[in-house]
């Protein structure tokens, strides 16, 4: 249960969760609940494979995943910020839309109701061997996982700094806690909320791209509830990038272990449930109360 292979698998499982959880955090910090993460992951996954399939370049594919995420989250932003409609409803609708549209397009483009043809994944980072021992040593570190795994970890650091050490982060938090006060101080509430939601789309879209490129194809409904697990990780991590990271690692680990347990007589369903149960426990406050941003979910 603690072998290196499980650790490897756990990191790969955690990566899309990290991206999506960071995304969810930016959105909720700005005051917009984003349960569309599930649909954004799925759309990002689809777009990344489509573009990789057409161009043969997984990096372009990943960028397409990011862009698709931004586009989908833009729907959420328009509906819930500009039109002030219910954010949960918008999220539910986007999840259905993503599910329908990706299957629809998979059929139209590849003539399959289940999956895309396989594509090339991202090649691992590596310095040329000719650079000597130092390059080889560096490669052991940076060449062990697909590049997006490292980018996910870097995103956590960037998100942490952005949220806690920049004016943008401060304003974002202000808008999520008390939009009236922020507005009085001359902060453009709508613009910041748009930024938070679009950022969440970019990150979750990238997470979807990793999910699909790591599998080397698009499979229908391949997000399989990961958007909701990311949401859970964000809550469990108390709306903090670093907290979310650890929650994602924990949940990714649970997923990796659960896969290892299949066929060994231990009911995998119970391991699968861990993130959901832990999140409910965290919300009740048994292990330190998880408190959402005060204005999260309220249109302004």
């Amino acid at each position: 249960m603690f072998e290196l292979t499980v650790f490897d698998a756990a990191l790969r499982m955690a990566t899309p969760l990290i991206f999506a959880a960071l995304g969810g955090m930016f959105s909720e910090r700005s005051g917009v609940v984003n349960i569309a993460l599930e649909g954004i992951l799925l759309t990002g996954a689809f777009a990344s494979i489509l573009v990789t399939y057409q161009t043969g370049d997984p990096w372009l594919g990943a960028f397409a995943g990011l862009l698709a995420g931004v586009l989908v989250s833009a729907i959420h932003a328009v509906v819930s910020i500009t039109f002030k409609a219910n954010q949960i409803v918008s999220g539910v609708a986007i999840n259905l839309l993503a599910m329908g549209a990706t299957q629809f397009l998979t059929w139209i483009i590849w003539g399959s109701s289940a999956n895309s043809p396989p594509v090339e994944g991202m090649s691992y980072w590596a310095l040329p061997e000719s650079w000597g021992a130092v390059a080889r040593a560096v490669n052991v570190v940076i060449g062990h996982y697909p590049p997006l795994v490292y980018i996910a970890f870097a995103s956590v650091v960037i998100a942490h700094v952005t949220l806690w050490r920049t004016a943008f982060g401060l304003r974002l938090r202000a808008v999520g806690e008390h939009p009236e006060a922020a507005d009085t101080l001359g902060i453009n509430v709508h613009r910041l909320r748009y930024a938070g939601v679009l950022l969440s789309g970019a990150l979750a879209g990238l997470g979807g791209a990793f999910l699909a490129l790591n599998t080397h194809q698009f499979v229908k409904n391949m997000s399989a509830g990961r958007g909701f697990i990311a949401l859970a990780a964000m809550i469990f991590g108390k709306w903090n990038p670093v907290g979310a990271l650890f929650a994602c690692l924990l949940f990714g680990y649970a997923e990796a272990v659960q896969m290892g347990l299949q066929g060994r007589g231990i009911p995998s369903q119970f391991v699968q449930m861990i993130p959901y149960v832990l999140t409910m426990v965290a919300l009740v406050g048994v292990i330190g109360r998880a408190r959402p941003p005060a204005a999260s979910g309220k249109p302004y």
């Binding site: 002030k84 329908g100 809550i235 959901y276």
Partner: protein
């Protein structure tokens, strides 16, 4: 309600559906098919025969239950997106009790199973209701989490404990025959409606209609319903009026969950006669769309569920006879939800402006 306000509540769903069909038409055109042809096949697929009409009603039936679940909770100011989990638990409890009812007469077995379905859903919904009432935790996250927990638990029990011996399919054995609801084909044929015997339409639809009436009656004709609506409109005011808000939250959630659990009457008692792992294809989530489209009123839910029944039934024909895959319907439904909430906000805003305008005019005139 003013005439304009009434018009708004009818107009926004109609506008949303029309606009969604338009969007769908554009999508169809984009892939080189004729929207007219696709839509005529869609509606012929739904209305073309008595058999297909039977399917429309059959497909609408579970959506009536989950739509009522969402609508009822909404009236108490609660967002129950846990219908999926509640219907799984209700259905599982129904099948579990149903397996043990051999020899019990139908007059007893059927009401018992209906009760078991409702109780299962209600118990599962009571959890987020209690957590909200006691700890103030928002029900949305908890109902999402409980959906997954319900899926995991039922899946575990079906595969590891209750699986029919000698079968590969993750499903239980058949429930007692006395607990099964009759198909309606026989009864309809005897009054001259030629519904084919193979049509799955069953007596659960009568329970669904009863549920629509019950939801309306509780909300509009009982003290309980009055208190639930008061809590939904303004919890603080309700509290000052002496209403036990916390209790109402739990009760409203439980009634909501009971409606979701009743999906079992169609899926288990009336159709499959057994519990099949993961049988619900988003029925719980579709309930949200149905409730929204039906403006959170029981009668509205009935009509919205029938509309979705039409779309779901017609989609199969579209799938077979055109190059358009049936997922078009999922897209249509999603677009409808988005548009209905947007249309609602826009029209409500217009309504407020109009009322504000009328009010200022009135003060000017009196001055």
């Amino acid at each position: 309600m003013s005439r304009f306000a009434k018009a708004v509540s009818v107009l926004s769903p109609v506008i949303a559906v029309a606009a969604a069909l338009l969007v769908g038409g554009l999508v169809v055109m984009a892939i080189g098919e004729s929207p007219l042809r696709v839509y005529s096949i869609l509606f012929r697929g739904a209305f073309g025969s008595v058999d297909s009409l039977g399917y429309v009603v059959f497909n609408a039936c579970p959506l009536i239950f989950t739509g009522l679940a969402v609508a009822f909770a909404f009236r108490a100011g609660l967002f129950n997106i846990g219908g999926e989990g509640q219907l799984y638990v209700g259905s599982f409890v129904c099948a579990w009790v149903g397996l043990k009812l051999g020899g019990v007469p139908a007059a007893l077995a059927v009401p018992l199973l209906v009760l078991a379905s409702a109780a299962g859903g209600a118990a599962w919904a009571a959890i987020p209701g209690f957590l909200k009432a006691r700890f103030g935790v928002h029900e949305v996250i908890n109902t999402i989490m409980l959906n997954f927990i319900a899926i995991g638990l039922t899946s575990y029990f079906v595969i590891n404990v209750f699986k029919e011996p000698g079968q590969m399919t993750p499903q239980t054995a058949e429930i007692a025959a006395s607990g099964q609801l009759p198909r309606l084909a026989g009864a309809l044929q005897s009054v001259g409606i030629p519904l084919p015997a193979a049509n799955p339409l069953n007596a659960s639809i009568l329970i669904a209609l009863g549920a629509v009436w019950a939801a309306w009656f509780i909300l509009n004709r009982t003290t309980l319903g009055y208190e639930i609506r008061a809590v939904g409109l303004n919890p603080s005011a309700a509290e000052y009026a002496g209403i036990n808000v916390r209790r109402m939250l739990v009760v409203a959630m439980m009634i909501s969950g009971a409606f979701a659990g009743l999906v079992a009457t169609n899926e288990i008692m009336g159709f499959r006669y057994r519990y099949l792992d993961n049988f619900s294809a988003q029925i719980g989530f579709m309930g949200i769309a149905v409730a929204l489209l039906g403006k959170n009123t029981p009668l509205g839910v009935l009509f919205a569920a029938l509309l979705f029944g039409v779309l779901n039934t017609g989609a199969l024909e579209v799938d077979v006879f055109t190059d358009v895959p049936r997922e078009l319907i999922l897209v249509l439904q999603a677009v409808t939800i988005i548009l209905v909430v947007v249309a609602n906000e826009v029209l409500t805003k217009k309504l407020r402006e109009r009322e504000a305008g009328a009010a200022s005019q009135a003060t000017e005139e009196s001055a």
